[in-house]
Amino acid sequence: MRSVLVSSIAVLSWVTPALSQETMAGFLQEEYSCIMCHTDMRTGFLQGVHSGRGILCTDCHGGDPSQFEADAAHTEGFVGSMSKTEAVDLCLSCHGDLPQMRQFALEPVTEEEFLFSRHGRALLEDRNLLAPSCGDCHGSHAILPRTDPRSPVHPARIPETCSSCHSDPTRVPEGLPTDQLEQWQESAHGVALMAGHNERAANCASCHGSHSALPPGVLEIPNVCGKCHQLVRETYFRGPHGQAGPSSSGGIPCTACHANHETTMPPLSEIGSVCVSCHEEGSSAGVAGLELQEQVLRAQAAGSRARDALHILAEAGETIDDEEVRFLTVETHLRELLVQAHALEPEALDDLVRRISSLSTEIGERADVVEEHRWERQLLAIPAWVLLVFGILLALRKRRKLVAPVEDSSVGQGEGTES
């Protein structure tokens, strides 16, 4: 009797958490029998965004959930696993509907939008089943909001999700590169997102879009980059590359100097050589590139001189409130300089470079004073050692006088060898 009681308590205590979880998610065992058999989908679905919003298995799959027998349950318009195109229609039936989406602050996704993407065209028009459907990116049962780090469409996981197809040559159209992920990981964006955990850094969808995913056109690129790099965009359009527009051979977009996936800032000492990769060496543009490089390098050198001087002042225990403000201004100007450099006009930078240099000199001058003080302090060692030598000579002379007449010579010699 007792053993039965104990074992039933043990069984109950093991079962109860699972039951309570289901009840909390809005299920009643008697009314809802799908998960009794489909246990493999239960956990994922319960964690997903739909289960908490009253959307149940039957809303997508039909059937009669009050029946416990499989045959009886799989009636009344039951749909089992569905095709990719059927899935798109099913999802859009709710997600394309503005009144339904408004309450969740979600933008509705329309079929037109999906059809604009190469994914949509390949799937819905060309019936290419290698093309992704909704579930390929979002998951099918465990559908999580994109703010959830477990979601495949979370900013930090999008690159991995996209590359699950795009790094596989058998799944992308012929001629499309498959090394975008590696390139992106090396880029400033990739480093910022993956190492710096900056979720606002650009992932695939930031430039290509999500449901309407498509590579941006050449003339669109400055605007695409400009979504984040707003000041650079403005300056770029003031300069010759931005002004060239569609008239020349398609325009000179950001990617001409910064690459598309492996987006990095070229080393400042190589600005000139980036220019001559298109322009001829010695041409006016080539010369301007070298001048630009020189301006930027001069400003950068002044900036690092200011940093060194600040370090000297701090280590020497000087109060550096004023200098810190000056140094902050130097850093701000340096950033501004790199933005302004996109206008590609070396003369336009003169003023900024001059301001950086003068601030750096001001900090440096104080550091020079401290260095000079340090040298003066070291001079103190001279009187210290002079005093020492005199003191020792006097003391030893006195000792010799004291020792000589009183003690016999053997003690004196003993002292001598010991010292």
Partner: protein, 380 residues
């Protein structure tokens, strides 16, 4: 003749004083080690003074006996510069760092006081160790000088406590995080470790309360301990005199002025070295202490902190347990070797222990010189 006339002129009051007062009043200078040898309490003052100052030391006393004096001299320098620093230093998290900046850049020779204090703290441990080495080598820790020896070991520990409590006071990143590391390591000792660590850190992390407690320990508690131990150390030396060494026996030179001149030379050299070190290798200011930023690198500044941090870094607790155990073993030396040979070749246990001690110090020093690894935040 003129000399005796002068003496007659100045000594009327002195003579009265000498005759009216007996040697008991000399207990104060004796406390500070300024007199040499036992004196009879009931001698007239002048006679007692002369008897004490002129007392002849054993013939074996020479330059190697000057390191104890150098340690004492450095202690006095530390007291003097410490008092001067306390005129400007403010022991609070907000004011500590700026008050030292002010001392360094605004006060005339403020920098000299600060850096001499820093370097004297390093040198005092070094000279104390050399003094210890001399005592072990000559075997003068044995009866009847066991207590003197024990006081000496306790003085060494007190000096290390001074160094560790003073290290936090500049309140920069290096001070802050080395202290955090030190308190974490202290907590590793069984039974009392956690308790002691908690007693000094007060808070969950090194905070203003910790700074107050370190400051009070550094400027109030430890100076009294030092005074007590030093006076006992000196009293006992006065009582027992300097030991005769093996083959060299008999009376040598008087304490004053002969040996005092030796001490003067050593003190002058020490002072010149201190000023030079202070002027050429000032202790730099780290960034202000910031409990929310672990510094990229954590240099240990000063010879004693290098040794302590290095000892804590050694694997398997070699340093953590080895250093205190060896100190206890060294303190217990007189119990083991109460009698026997004074030549160091005939004292293998003592020399072996001391060699082990030196080896551990060297290894710790090397380990301490390595790149500083900042402590893991909150990890014990």
């Amino acid at each position: 003749m003129t000399e005796s006339d002068q003496n007659k002129g100045r000594s009327r009051i002195l003579k009265w004083l000498e005759e009216a007062t007996d040697a008991r009043i000399l207990s104060i200078p004796r406390l500070f080690g300024l007199l040499y040898g036992p004196i009879e309490d009931r001698l007239p003052l002048g006679e007692a003074w002369r008897a004490s100052m002129r007392r002849r030391l054993p013939a074996s006393v020479g330059w190697k006996h000057a390191f104890g004096g150098a340690t004492y001299f450095l202690c006095m320098i530390l007291v003097l510069t410490g008092v001067m620093l306390s005129f400007y230093y403010r022991p609070s998290t907000v004011e500590a760092y700026p008050s030292l900046q002010y001392l360094e850049s605004e006060i005339t020779f403020g920098w000299l006081v600060r850096h001499v204090h820093f370097w004297a703290a390093s040198l005092v441990v070094l000279t104390a160790l050399v003094h210890l080495f001399r005592v072990v080598l000559t075997g003068t820790y044995r009866a009847p000088r066991e207590t003197t020896w024990l006081m000496g070991i306790m003085l060494l520990i007190t000096l290390l406590a001074f160094v560790t409590s003073g290290y936090l006071l500049p309140w920069d990143q290096w001070a802050y995080w080395t202290t955090t590391y030190g308190l974490d390591e202290l907590a590793k000792y069984p039974v009392v470790g956690g308790l002691l660590s908690r007693l000094f850190s007060v808070d969950e992390f090194v905070s203003g309360a910790t700074l107050s407690r370190f400051y009070a320990t550094h400027v109030i508690l430890l100076p009294w301990v030092l005074l007590l131990l030093l006076s006992l150390h000196f009293q006992l030396i006065r009582k027992h005199g300097v030991a005769l060494e093996g083959d060299v026996s008999g009376e040598g030179e008087p304490f004053f002025p002969h040996h005092m001149l030796r001490q003067l030379v050593v003190a002058l050299i020490t002072l010149a070295v201190l000023i030079t070190l202070a002027a050429f290798f000032p202790r730099p200011f780290g960034p202000p202490a910031d409990p929310f930023t672990v510094p990229g690198e954590l240099p240990a500044l000063g010879f004693p902190v290098l040794i302590l941090v290095g000892a804590a870094r050694l694997p398997l607790g070699i340093g953590l347990y080895g250093l205190p155990l060896l100190l206890i073993a060294l303190a217990a030396l007189p119990l083991v070797a109460r009698t026997g040979e004074s030549a160091f070749t005939r004292r293998p246990v003592a020399m072996g222990l001391f060699a082990l001690f030196l080896l551990l110090l060297m290894v710790s020093l090397i380990a301490g010189l390595g790149p500083g690894v900042p402590p893991s935040v909150g990890g014990n």
